[in-house]
Amino acid sequence: MADIKQVVLERNLNPYHSFFSSFFAGLAELGMINQGSINIVSKRAAEYLYSYLEAKEILPDLGAVPGDTPTEVAKNLILYINKILSLVGEYDFKDAEDGMAVLMIAGNTCRICPKGVGGAEVKGTLCPIPTLIENLVNRIAQKDLLELVTSGIEKEGSTCKAYFKVLN
């Protein structure tokens, strides 16, 4: 694992990022969680977060969310979610082939990765972001806007990618 000081400073982590990523790293190293279980609990977390945003009265006004296409609307909702949760530094969400959209995250700017930040030494991925985004965007949009196609995140070099079907 990279030097913790370097990760903390370069990725601009807050204490909750450190706690979250290292906590899940520990569970993963004990064999208690995997990508499959992270997908399931991320869905639950999305529901909880929606209730949190509702309670705090900080849900975006759906009529005011800019975007001429469903992908642009989803992109702006992802922007909003990332502002609230500060999940990643650099990312993009754009149209891909076959009516899909792709979320591309610069891996070295992710703040909640149980592996890259928390230091989990396990095989496979442990990314909560795709399922969280899918479910929270849909919950906020009050309709099925995104359908996650990949079963988690796919690593391509230093980029982490998740593909979504964009629904009208």
């Binding site: 004990l30 064999g31 499959g36 279980s37 095989k123 988690g152």
Partner: protein, 123 residues
């Protein structure tokens, strides 16, 4: 014409279920808890079977090593209504079977071993 991997996996799981009376459901999942193939009743959530099966095998494997019990052969969970059998299929996959209480365990273990050999060849 050659069968797809999905079709081959489905056939192997189907044969396993036919050879062992009282096997109710089967799944092949990746070690990170994602379902590769399954023959599950509609009321069983596939995602949960995958995630839990992989986690149980992973914890069991780790426990076996930490407590010096050697390499994991199988995990058998016995409930009042039946069993859950979990076995590793090579390095990247796992077989999960939901079995009724009336099963002959010797037959189950024997056929599971055969099934795993076939699954390894496919994967």
């Amino acid at each position: 014409m050659a069968q797809t991997i999905a079709a081959q996996l489905d056939k192997t799981l189907n044969d396993f279920e036919r050879n062992v009376p009282h096997v109710q459901a089967t799944a092949v999942v990746s070690t990170d808890g994602l379902v590769i193939a399954s023959r599950l009743p509609s009321d069983v959530e596939e995602d949960r079977i995958g995630a839990m099966g992989a986690a149980i095998l992973s914890i069991s494997t780790r426990s076996g090593r930490e407590l010096e019990r050697g390499e994991m052969v199988r995990v058998l969970i016995e409930g009042t209504e039946g069993y859950i059998l979990i076995r590793s299929v090579g390095e990247y996959a796992i077989l999960v079977a939901l079995v009724e209480k009336e099963v002959r365990l010797g037959l189950l273990f024997y056929e599971a071993k055969k099934c795993i050999q076939l699954l390894r060849e496919i994967l």
